[in-house]
Symmetry: C3
Subunit: 352 residues, 3 copies
């Protein structure tokens, strides 16, 4: 090797206040939308039909919120998590205006915290990432924290900085995409008559359907998102690794869970926030992903009579029906089948 390749950043390379402009801006296209549909089978009507979306005030069918998220996330991998041991969590994710095919996304991050682990070999890095479109408008931003290897275990530990993160995104920070007017919302075409008013806090929904993951699918997804994390792609190396297999990109499970949630949350037409998220266990090709959701909260949107927000926790589970809602126990220990615990906010039409 001649120093021409990117070795990725190590724990020592991160310092609070550091700004990182990520490479490879990406024009999102109708082709990306079709692949997203083919990979996840999403059936939310707003993202499927230009005509329906325009009847609600969108310029066209917006791309799936998690397609935008994964594209922005993918750009950060080479700089943030190429030497990461684990993706520990998400918080404070907010989706701004709609992203349409033709928009060009880029990503910038700032380091907002570092803390060396007591073993001296790794540390936790907290990063705030923003996705911007071609007009430099933020389309989404989020915080994530990852455990990253140190280059040199003998290097001195930095002063720990741990950011204060809200438990969830407040109702005043939830953005309704500009120009929306849901008075024409069509519950026949959306696939369900259940609106915001019909959901109760504490209610649990088994989404019933499930998807078995294939190697080519999760790799095509990660490549579509230009995610360069090696563990997803190289079976020759991974067969010597911790799991002897390629690891599925965690975001693949988020998108599968969101698509499965259509059956029960069909009118949750937009994801407005990511409150928290944990990849509880890795997933692999051959795993079958089920999902269930719990309504954690309901909020009105200030100034809007037509739209409400639900705070939802969707739990993805592998190789196990969700009829019994597999969850964590009172000690916080997850059932062995749980792979994702995702707390987010969705927008939903209210009854007139």
């Amino acid at each position: 090797m001649t120093g021409k390749t990117n070795p990725g950043n190590y724990f020592e390379d991160f310092a609070p206040g550091q700004e990182i402009v990520h490479a490879t801006p990406r024009t999102v296209s109708e082709g990306d939308v079709s692949l997203y549909t083919a990979l996840y089978g999403s059936r939310f009507a707003v993202q499927s039909s230009d005509i329906l979306a325009m009847s609600l005030g969108y310029e066209a069918a917006p791309v799936d919120d998690f397609l935008a998220f994964h594209i922005v996330f993918g750009k950060t991998v080479s700089d943030i998590s190429l030497n990461a041991v684990a993706n520990l969590g998400y918080a404070s994710g907010r989706f701004g205006g709609a992203v349409y095919p033709g928009d060009t996304l880029r990503a910038v991050s700032s380091v907002i915290g570092v803390k060396e682990n007591s073993n001296g070999k790794t540390g936790v890095v907290y990063v705030h990432t923003t996705g911007l479109n071609q007009r430099d408008e933020p389309v989404l931003d989020f915080v994530r924290w990852v455990m990253v290897n140190k280059r040199d275990p003998s290097a001195a530990a930095p002063e720990p900085v741990i950011p204060t993160l809200d438990a969830f995104v407040g109702e005043r920070e939830l953005v309704v995409p500009g120009g929306l007017d849901l008075s024409n919302y069509d519950c026949t075409l959306s696939g369900s008559s259940l609106l915001w008013d019909d959901y109760q806090v504490g209610e649990k929904i088994d989404h019933v359907d499930a998807m078995t993951i294939e190697e080519s699918e999760h790799m095509m997804a990660a490549r579509l998102f230009q995610n360069s994390a090696r563990v997803h792609f190289n079976q020759h190396a991974e067969k010597q690794g911790r799991f002897a297999r390629r690891i599925v990109y965690g975001g693949h499970i988020i998108s599968l869970a969101r698509a499965l949630s259509f059956n029960g949350l069909a009118n949750a037409f937009h994801v407005a926030a990511i409150n928290a998220g944990t990849h509880v266990a890795p997933t692999f090709a051959g795993d079958t992903v089920y999902a269930w959701s719990e309504v954690l909260g309901k909020t009105k949107i200030p100034g809007r009579g037509d739209i409400g927000a639900l705070r939802v926790r969707t739990v993805a589970v592998k190789d196990n029906s969700c009829a019994a809602f597999p969850d964590k126990d009172t000690d916080g220990k997850y059932a062995p089948s749980v792979v994702l615990d995702f707390d987010y906010a969705v927008l939903m039409p209210r009854k007139p």
Copy 2:
């Protein structure tokens, strides 16, 4: 479960005269076209080149007729066949004007027949489905009948209503997409000099080529079509099922057979009708699909000297060459390798 999910309709839920508006309208895009090409490898020139299509009077390259069919079909699954035991047949399928990227398709169905089976556990439902574009023009319609479970085996049987279905779509019902003029048809670019005049009734063609199906391919196809039938996706459940495997969406075989038929029917540039179709046996990942065709009829198109129609029967076969034309015997029993028997009409240029 809290009643928030769609349990699908059971036999008792269907009654003749009932109208169903299906959910999730879909804007067809260039991305769908590319995925269709990647999944089936179709080489028909009209659907491949805007320039060539426009030279014949199309506005642009139309999307493959079966891409439109599968998208419309997919919308009906949640309402019609979520609790279906078997997809029994197709009839009276007619393709209208061309579908282009940018068109938005939706589907409506009417129930035209019901008949309880003698076992009292299932019944047959006959449905007429129409796909409409954003101008409310029908782009295709077809009848299918499915065997559906009863919710309650003790429920009384309805008065049987069995629709009268034509054996095939008559020549006067075959629609030539508007504005077509084949005087510039280029047999070099289309890949074959064989025109309508060169085919004889009774002639059989072994399409020679074959495609092995992978799990990710048939699942990506079904998801692209937003087909929600569970048997295609959930290996964890299906391993306990009748075949211990996920079942390939029947339409996947139709599209594979149509793409394979290019080698022998390269100038069959448009599918104008589906006369009849039977999924003789299920297919699974790992199966290799071959196809052969028989010319069942030839008709001129009233008022057109440049275009003729062939009535073709294409038989798809698995894990067996079609050199010997595997078929049904004189008792109507199919050879074990046959998976699809599909009777349809194609348009083809005539010799000047």
Copy 3:
């Protein structure tokens, strides 16, 4: 069979001077670009972002050079290599102006050489293929030679004609896409600060990353390119064949190697020439492809101070790290892990 299918050409069917117009012109779309990204994970910024491409003088993000190459190549298979035993080599490949989504490509070839092999069963055919866009402008041309079966081993051998081929494409033949001005080139967004000036002749780069190939991926790729070679698709037949498996389209490896080369050659924003190429060994699903490159030459582009060309040799390797640069030995015998030896020219920005 009734003579309706294409049996492909045999060695006797080729004669020097023969011109072949290939079938199935193809409009390249944004869907093709997305699939290309999903199949290879390419991260070159110019092909990823319309905004960035336009800042350099492109009309939009051009499609990947090898996407255009594979589409043109795919058209030639039915006429040139359906009965080929082996794809022996490439030479004199030149890429012209940029190809954009919306362009329609077609392919024409001329036979420039034939030589029967001494066994009397096969012969080598040399073909010069040109890809043209809708304005009849050449977008790429190349020579390839293939070993083709004779239809009749007793047929007389033709007079051998072996074309003279240059070892590499000269600097004066390298085309800079029209209107380019790299003064706004952004090394942050491109992912590397290393420019033409930073590379030395003789330098070797291990691209570090690797991709494991799945059956569905290489088949989807070959179908996207409308490549009809049977060995890629039919496991039922191939299990009786030489390798008992489907063979991956050789071009799939070229594209994987090019995408992997981003890590080390991120600013090689355009492939301008193919000097030579050999598929050293076949690849199969399950193989993991690594790549390394060697800088064979550096040339300035006449009249351009902003752009230089590197002549690069990229070697793709399977199931073996490239840390030790697996190569051929002094007798020209390749290490068993080498699958591709590809000599080409890339354009790269020069330091201001």
